[in-house]
């Protein structure tokens, strides 16, 4: 018997199986004691982890911890020293026997209490041993012995199946002498409605398997389990060699394709794509020319020009060389007028795209200011120059029907995109960082508690510890003996102590922006 895999069992535990997969595992677990025991153990592990690890502190502790994080972030925003981490699970204890916390002055945090229902179970007391039915149904083989552990070995779904309604108990036992072999289906689960009674087996079916297809409209269909020794028929599309059938290649109706690794398949696909690209690259044009004739009824024409095509007329090559302007022409340049050459080489025609801040506003196309004329650059990168405003002055004289039709030439050699971003706001505002929407830096609800800690002689004490009780946080004084911390407004109590000094407790009423205090520590006796 093939047992269920760990993956099947795990998915079954998590309720991730459905339909046939779930039915198969359920049936197997009902029949296999080993798998049933393994399933029960895994279920117990889940229960244990859920009981022990479903812990979270109470709301008060969680609130204090959140306030501690927020104060640390506020202090960082204000440029103050970050408070030290102080556990809110344990109350702060001050050093020395005369500590105020030891005398009960500081509030003690409430004890941790579990939250979830699973946590409320008593730990030391074992739950009651589950009751095992005295007479399990004959169709389910249960061999699980309840252990001394506090968990039932059988999860609820593997308790003995509920007894079916009385009229349907009959199929468990052979109903009538004829037919002699009859495989009763499993009893339906609780609440399964309607329960479709199995049809009568065909006459003389011994053994009778597989079951017939359910009739149309049957909401629930419970197929009977296979009889002992039943082996499913081998599909003609399966690899018969996997079933140990000798000379299977002659028997298989469908040839079994040889297994191929993913790497080999990917390599083949990559090589094929590369070959196609190489083949296509020879047919790519050098120039795509779109002629836009004037007039409403005229449609633009697209012309693909291969630079080294022998059919190109010398005039066309000349114009091509002038318009591409970046690579040396195939024929020598014709002498052009200075203003014409400048008009060809200046980027004044290149539309500058301005992006506005508003997402709803489309980018505006504006004309860039003209730049000084540049002579033809032999090694400048080629650019796409869509001529959005053709200038008759700058149009070359050899252009086909200049002034009659406007042509646009795209040179797919290399593309350089220039995007100039500008803001609709004034530049002074655009350059400054965005103002915080709601900064609490000047929030009067979080005033600053600042102070100075000195000894009896007035010398500052560096590294003295200032512990605020609520919210729980700790900071230390700097070398000038000063400290500063942002706290919620209201009454606050803090404890100041340092090595070799007696601790001092202060209570302050924080309001306004800053509260200054002065603490003098006396040496410990």
């Amino acid at each position: 018997m093939r047992h269920v895999t760990a993956q099947q069992l795990s998915a079954f535990l998590d309720g991730a199986l459905s339909g046939v997969s779930r039915e198969l595992v359920t049936r197997h677990l009902a029949a296999c004691a080993d798998c049933r025991e393994r399933h029960a153990l895994w279920h117990i592990y889940d229960e244990v982890l859920q009981r022990v690890l479903s812990w979270e502190p109470d709301e008060h502790t969680m609130e204090q911890a959140s306030a501690r994080v927020e104060l640390a972030l506020t202090a960082e925003r204000r440029g103050l020293a970050l408070p030290e981490f102080t556990s809110v699970l344990n109350p702060v204890t001050a050093a020395g026997p005369s500590s105020p916390s030891a005398s009960g002055m500081f509030p003690t945090l409430p004890p941790l209490t579990p939250l979830h229902g699973a946590m409320h179970r008593p730990v030391a007391v074992a739950p009651p041993v589950p009751s095992v039915p005295a007479t399990p149904p004959a169709s389910v083989n249960i061999h699980i012995t309840p252990s001394a552990n506090s968990y039932p070995l059988d999860p609820p779904e593997f308790a003995p199946p509920p007894a079916p309604p009385a009229p349907y108990m009959a199929p468990v036992a052979p109903p009538a002498p004829a037919p002699p072999q009859w495989y009763a289906p499993h009893p339906p689960p609780a609440g399964a409605a309607p329960w479709y009674p199995p049809p009568a087996p065909p006459a003389g079916a011994t053994p009778w398997y597989p079951p017939p297809a359910p009739p149309a409209g049957a909401a629930q269909w419970y197929a009977p389990p296979p009889p002992a020794g039943y082996t499913p028929p081998i599909s003609p599309h399966e690899d018969l060699r996997a079933h140990g059938v000798p000379h299977a290649s002659r028997w298989a109706s469908t040839p079994v394709p040889p297994k191929q690794s993913h790497w080999g398949r990917a390599l083949l696909i990559g090589a094929a794509v590369l070959g196609v690209l190489l083949l296509l690259s020879t047919f790519l044009p050098d120039v795509i020319r779109i002629r836009v004739p004037e007039g409403r009824d005229a449609s633009p024409t697209v012309e693909l020009v291969h630079r080294d095509a022998p059919t190109l007329a010398p005039e066309q090559q000349q114009r091509l060389a002038e318009r591409t302007s970046s690579e040396p022409p195939l024929v020598p340049y014709r002498a052009l007028p200075a203003d014409s050459a400048a008009a060809q080489s200046t980027p004044a025609e290149v539309p500058q795209v301005e992006h506005s801040d508003s997402a709803l506003e489309p980018p505006a196309v504006v004309a860039a200011p003209p730049k000084p004329a540049v002579t033809a650059k032999a090694h400048a990168p080629a650019r796409i120059r869509p001529r959005v405003s053709p200038d008759p002055q700058s149009e070359d004289e050899g252009g086909t029907a200049a002034g009659v039709e406007h042509s646009t030439t795209f040179v797919p050699v290399s593309v350089k995109t220039e995007v100039r971003l500008s803001s609709s706001q004034p530049s002074s505002q655009a350059s400054s960082p965005p103002a915080p929407a709601a900064d609490t830096a000047g929030d009067p609800s979080l005033p600053l508690l600042c102070g100075e800690v000195v000894d009896e002689s007035g010398a500052p004490i560096e590294g003295a510890r200032v512990q605020v009780m609520v919210p729980a946080l700790t900071i230390r004084t700097d070398k000038r003996g000063r400290f500063c911390v942002a706290l919620p407004a209201g009454e606050r109590t803090f404890l100041v102590d340092a090595a070799g000094f007696q601790a001092v407790t202060r209570g302050v009423e924080l309001s306004g922006a800053t509260f200054e205090t002065h603490v003098t520590l006396t040496a410990a006796r």
């Binding site: 309720g15 889940d46 982890l49 009981r51 812990w55 972030l73 730990v123 999860p155 915080p436």
Partner: protein
Amino acid sequence: MHDNSNAHYSWTEPGRDPELALAAQRGDLGALFTLLRKYRRELWRVCFALTLDRQRAERLVHDTLLRAAKNLRSLPTGSSMLPWLVRLAAHLATAAAKSGTQAPGAEPFSPEALGTGLTEMERPVLEAFAALPEGERLLLALDTIEHISYPELAVIAKREVPVIMNQVALIRARIAREEAA
């Protein structure tokens, strides 16, 4: 079967998280605090499962929230903050375990740190769970304690669903093996 009563909401549903995160990135501390408080319960439970120690879990929650506030810009756009927060906590827990920056004297697993008693049967299960790497511990905790579905686990762990299913099964089998040993 699992009692899925706890799984009443999705861990990967963004909700108002992107909006709050955007406001927090622009300097709104109120939005930042709202965002950090939103998932504190889940974060506490995850950190406790990662550390198996209440004190260390508290420290991990603190560090995770501070790190999240500082690195809010790396939150994936338009996504829920909770998976990112959980990954961050797991990363910090792993880093702390590797660098040995845990609490001084803290053992890998101390039943006393759990804050609850363990029966004789529960102890080996928890020991086997504690022996898992942080990532696997997190995965099993999210599966068994939080009852998160496999697709959501895949989103949180940034893996495919079959990989997650297989990994959860292998972790369970490993716990069973070590518990039996």
